[in-house]
Amino acid sequence: MDLVYIAHIGVILFTFFMLLNSAAVLVLMERKVAAFLQQRLGPNRTGPWGTLQPVADILKLLFKEELRPLAADRWLFALAPILSVTAAFSAFAVVPWGGTTTLFGLLPEPVPLRVADVNVGILVLFAITSMGIYGIVLAGWSSNSKYSLLGGLRSSAQMISYELSYGLALGAVLLLGNSLSLTDIVNQQSGYWFGVIPRWFIFIQPLGFVIYMIAGIAETNRAPFDFPEAEQELVAGYHTEYSSFRFALFFLAEYVNMVTVSAVATTLFLGGWHGPFLPEWLGWLWWLAKLFALLFFYIWMRWTLPRYRYDQLMHFGWKVLLPVAVINLLLTAAAVLYWG
């Protein structure tokens, strides 16, 4: 029993560690993919193929001077990045990233590969990811800088325009899965229809997936919806006044948020760790593959599209995304009632 307990803690620590690493991997991936799209080389001086670039970036940020504007609200200024990064990390807790493992028979009973299986997982996720916006709003407000303030205001305007559709897209999956636990939802996506098509929810919820991804991009403040930081307009938006490690925390939060949103999309729509060809215990490879496909899509979007204007996103969110999400939810509910 003790061994299982230790294994559980091991999984938790491992998840946290890998989440930290994923930010580093993503930084490199973003720069390499961007370079590829723009016909450049990207980082190639630090280590083989530039692999040490994230390390160099982090070290540089750590050794920078920590600056705080005199007029800034001291406590909120310090709190904001912590809030951002905490929300980003803790949201991941309910996402399962693999089936179960006995570590090649070492453990007396199988240990699930996730931090926690909360029976209201989707609600927890929704609650915590929405918290992240407070970090940005507070950062914008407490900096006492006009550009930061505009960035903070934009992010709250942005939040109210996508959050509803985001919730409704999740709601449709919830109806299909008839459960709030992410592990349950993943398990319902195992197996095949007609023996060939994986029973992933994306095939019965394509609209929900699209809505979720659009809202997810808005949620993580990534281009084309990166208004709070829009560097061409607001210099750097909410984190204009941040430097050194506090800036690094915002940076980290952005990438971890991307991972979380992609991981949830993988879990809810792409069948989590289920996939053909690989044995059950290698399911996490499928999970990683799907996750990175989505992350690549994120980066691809960022370097291809121009930026929306935040009032246009609000129009889009309220007049297009929300009605579509409501219809999608109603149709799903009707279908579940009829066939379910």
């Binding site: 799209l37 505009l150 061409q232 307009e233 246009q312």
Partner: protein, 380 residues
């Protein structure tokens, strides 16, 4: 009959603090294209008014020219619109030639036209890249600079410099074309024609691009003329005015090309007009290379350039608009008595406050991009 809702107490409405937010955009800002400073008065994110503050790059080029001799001034004109130095050279040299009544050999005229159009391509590439980057499409910027690099290579091969060319002389050109240069120019034209298709795929029909540029900064043709708009922005408002057609200079008279004209006068039309100018420029270059006459590239010019007393104004079509030079000579000294430039960037910039009024902060950067200014020319 009694009032069903009698007013029992008058509530004082809550007083909100509704000051306008004044923000200072520039002179150090990622998208003010150098050292432009805007003082924006905002209501929320809506721009109530904008003040343009210029002069951060003032070097006194006009005054400086009055104490330099006539050949040295070519160098100074390089430093005005440094994105399109060759056009400035051309404008200045033609003005002096007009003042002195010099004849420029036909071959020199053709080469000047080719160089001017290459410069237009380079300048428009910089414009497209930065304009798209301001709106958030960063990749377009790198694509555009990739092609601009090829123009710079061509210029380097011709005159040795990549940015400030000093590529004209009063009465002609410093050098004939290098061997094989025209073939490279043709190759470059083919490349540009191909790449324009790429840019159009990335932007022209892009929903986000359309929403960000359509109906943004609309200005009517009459207003545009009244405010001294010139160049592609003026043509986008539906006014047919291009110095190359209206008052032909260099060898433009001998080539067939169209002047694209917009209708709506918004940012999208200004984008389309310039994109079409790319195609017209390559068309002109090809014609000029095909019909390149033989002969000298330098006319008969006195050793000492000393125009007779008098004054003249001459304008040419730079990529930004109509660049004009007013030069007065007293006929005695070795430098101009009075030297004054009509800079297109400056004239276009004064329309900016009118354009941005009522738009959002995000549109301000799009509008700075769309009028295509170079601060070196605005401030001189």
């Amino acid at each position: 009959m009694t009032d069903p809702h009698p007013v029992t107490a008058t509530r004082t409405p809550v007083q909100f603090d509704t000051d306008e937010l004044v923000i200072n955009m520039g002179p150090q800002h990622p998208s003010t294209h150098g050292v432009l400073r805007l003082i924006l008065r905002l209501d929320g994110e809506r721009v109530v008014d904008a003040d343009v503050v210029i002069g951060y790059l003032h070097r006194g080029i006009e005054k400086l020219s009055e104490s330099r001799d006539w050949t040295q001034i070519v160098l100074l004109t390089d430093r005005m619109d440094y994105v399109a130095a060759a056009t400035n050279n051309l404008g200045y040299c033609e003005t002096v030639e007009k003042l002195m009544g010099l004849e420029v050999p036909r071959r020199a005229q053709y080469i000047r036209t080719v160089l001017a159009e290459l410069q237009r391509l380079a300048s428009h590439l910089v414009w497209l890249g930065t304009h798209a980057m301001d709106i958030g499409a960063v990749t377009v910027f790198l694509y555009c600079l990739r092609e601009r690099e090829l123009v710079l290579d061509l210029f380097e091969e011709y005159c040795g410099a990549r940015l400030t060319y000093n590529s004209r002389r009063v009465g002609g050109l410093p050098a004939d074309l290098p061997v094989g240069w025209d073939r490279k120019v043709r190759e470059f034209c083919d490349i540009v024609d191909q790449k324009i298709v790429d840019y159009e795929q990335l932007l022209t029909q892009n929903r986000i691009w359309l929403e960000r540029t359509r109906d943004i900064g609309v200005i009517s043709g009459a207003d545009a003329i009244a405010m001294g708009f010139c160049g592609p922005p003026l043509r986008a408002s539906g006014v047919m005015r291009d110095v190359r057609k209206d008052e032909p200079y260099a060898a433009y008279e001998e080539f067939a090309f169209d002047i694209p004209v917009g209708a709506a006068g918004d940012t999208y039309d200004r984008y389309l007009v310039r994109l079409e100018e790319f195609k017209q420029s390559t068309r002109i270059i090809r014609q000029a290379l095909d019909g390149m006459p033989e002969g000298p590239v330098m006319g008969k010019v006195p050793r000492l350039i000393k125009p007779p007393a008098g004054e003249t104004y001459h304008a040419i079509e730079s990529p930004k608009g109509e660049i004009g030079f007013f030069i007065a000579s007293d006929g005695k000294s070795l430098s101009p008595y009075r030297f004054r430039v009509r800079p297109p960037s400056f004239c276009n910039l004064q329309v900016l406050p009118k354009l941005v009024r009522g738009h959002l902060v995000a549109d301000v950067v799009a509008l700075i991009g769309t009028i295509d200014i170079v601060l070196g020319e605005v401030d001189r």
